[in-house]
């Protein structure tokens, strides 16, 4: 049985308070980090093999190492708590139940990159989460874990909560920066990357909540401990959110690389109501779906990439045999269309067109050649936009057609659903 790391405190009473956190050994990682050099912290995180838990899986230590060492330049850390990839509900649990774990991870990251100011970008709907973070920042400041001369050191850090206001695109890191700066959240062209020109034009690191929450544990237990959990190339503990047609939906913390079948059947209790499994989205709706024959795939970045899909946020959405894949694709793409920021034509217009075609197929008015038309539109969107929103929509649709083209064709030919 895997001993939870990130979720170990969530069931203790008042787990969100600093007293509960200190009792569980909280802020020991920060204490230890402040006795290390910034470079050795970055090296430790590199050695741990920690890769970004927001979806892209970029090596965290490497990301930190891109930040200028020039002490005269202001730097920023932004925590991406815009959790919006449908199927995902992991960061909210950390924020609401154990916010100090995140704050400690952020303080260590800021010390390592030389940032004196940090922002937590939390989606606007997480009202309780934002309040918990504000309270936790106050508590941490009162205890000397944030603010001036943290824990008696020469390191000082201000931390702020910035609330979003309902826009999926803000999970994209450069759109997130635009949003903090008080603008519409349109992604920026890269390069320059945020590590060079980020928030307010300064070098900036953007990390996901879960990524940052891993940091105190890595400092406390050492890089080798973390690297030994799960597969060598994408190691560590991982939060998997299981939703949809399972008996026990919920958040499960397991070693990276745990097979999908084990998560669905052993932890989430299998398919509800004794029905048959049909498909699973392994990493939030942008991740192409998998079917029965793929269920032994280990849930890690590389194994899922090898299957043509992705780990994404580790959000596992399970569908039983009552599900119409066409209807699911329509709902998913209405979402992408709604959330397209409108900056890039292929995404803005392409998704509008995709949804129209999907809607007529689902509504029994599909025309011959519509499935090929969808795939052609995918080509016109993929790789032609500033940010990955359009790509995610395309990957999801290609995945659905790849697995269940017969259902799309059936809808077109018989003007109704086969399920």
């Amino acid at each position: 049985m895997f001993e939870p790391v990130l979720l170990k405190n969530i069931n203790t009473p008042d787990s969100f308070t600093i007293d509960a956190y200190l009792k569980s050994g909280g802020y020991e990682g920060l204490k230890k980090a402040l006795e290390m050099s910034a470079d050795s912290i970055i090296q430790t995180v590199k050695d741990s093999g920690l890769r970004g838990r927001g979806g892209a899986g970029f090596p965290t230590g490497l990301k930190w190492s891109f930040i200028s060492k020039d002490p005269t330049i202001a730097k920023y850390l932004c925590c991406n708590a815009d959790e919006g990839e449908p199927g995902t509900f992991k960061d909210r649990v950390i924020i609401e139940k154990d916010p100090h774990q995140l704050i400690e991870g952020m303080a260590i990251a800021c010390y390592a990159i030389g940032a004196a100011n940090a922002y937590i970008y939390i989606r606007g709907e997480f009202v309780l989460g934002a309040q918990r973070l504000e309270d936790a920042i106050q508590e941490a400041t009162a205890k000397g874990c944030l603010g001036k001369n943290i824990l008696g050191s020469s390191f000082s850090l201000n931390m702020y909560v910035h609330r979003g206001a309902g826009a999926y695109i803000c999970g994209e890191e450069t759109a997130l920066l635009e949003s903090i700066e008080g603008r519409r959240a349109l992604p920026r062209v890269k390069p320059p990357f945020p590590a060079q020109v980020g928030l307010f034009g300064k070098p900036t690191v953007i990390n996901n909540v879960e990524t940052l929450a891993c940091v105190p544990h890595i400092i406390n237990n050492g890089a080798a401990w973390f690297a030994a959990i799960g597969p060598a190339k994408s190691p560590g503990t991982k939060l998997f959110g299981v939703s949809g047609h399972v008996n026990k939906p919920g958040l499960y913390e397991l070693p990276m690389g745990t097979p999908l079948r084990e998560i669905i059947y052993d932890y989430a209790g299998g398919i509800r109501g004794g029905r048959a499994f049909k498909a699973v989205i392994p990493g939030g709706v942008s991740a192409p779906m998998l079917i029965e024959k793929d269920l032994d795939t280990p849930m890690d970045f590389d194994s899922l990439a090898a299957k043509g899909t992705m780990l994404g946020s580790g959000a596992i959405v399970v569908m039983d045999d009552t599900v119409c894949i066409v209807k699911t694709a329509l709902r998913t793409h209405e979402f992408f269309h709604h959330e397209s920021c409108g900056k890039c034509t292929p995404c803005r217009e392409g998704l509008d067109w995709l949804v129209k075609v999907l809607r007529r197929i689902e509504g029994g008015e599909g025309k011959e050649g519509d499935v090929d038309l969808l795939l052609k539109l995918c080509v016109d969107i993929f790789g032609r936009t500033f940010c990955p929103l359009g790509d995610g929509a395309v990957m999801a649709l290609r995945g659905a057609i790849n697995c269940y083209r017969n259902e799309f064709e059936y809808h077109v030919n018989h003007k109704r659903c086969m399920v």
Partner: protein
């Protein structure tokens, strides 16, 4: 006009950022809290307080879905209709609420008490189906639970 307190709050919010313009989002939240929705006058006030052109406030207010550009009821019911919730009956939940309240999606009851909205994923997929009413999440919903929630708000 915004109240003195709201103006003070917005001015204080600017200290969180490297420039005053960046406080536009929290400032709009203050406006919405005070007026119930974002009025043109409210946006102009924000622009004046922050020292920026009104268009820079308008464009932000219209980009983000949580800023209500029209008045909403005392209780704003937002039903998640995204994948996990739709797999577990979001459509039924919406129909049920619509029947109970006697309004369609995007409408407000005649007593101005409830507005019914469909929204995208609220990050509560393990407890689907769910809805948000004002600041609170209501999860693992059943007809009976929804009935009880509505009765408590009526």
């Amino acid at each position: 006009m915004l109240s003195e307190n709201a103006v003070k709050e917005i001015n204080e919010l600017t200290s969180k950022y490297a420039n005053r313009r960046s406080a536009v989002m929290p400032a709009l939240t203050v406006v919405q809290k005070e007026l119930g929705y974002i009025t043109e006058e409210g946006m102009r006030d924000v622009a004046r307080i922050l020292g920026i052109k009104p268009v820079l406030v308008f464009e932000v207010a219209t980009f983000y879905t949580m800023y209500n550009k029209k008045p909403v009821g005392k209780y704003h019911i937002q039903v998640c209709t995204n994948i996990a919730c739709s797999l577990l009956g979001a459509e039924h939940l919406m129909d049920f609420l619509s029947r109970k309240l006697g309004v369609k999606v995007k409408e407000t009851t005649s007593d101005k008490k409830f507005t019914l909205s469909a929204v995208e994923c609220l990050g509560s997929c393990g407890t689907a189906p769910m809805m948000q009413i004002n600041d609170n999440y209501y999860e693992n919903l059943t007809d009976a639970k929804v009935e009880e929630i509505l009765n408590n708000l009526r």
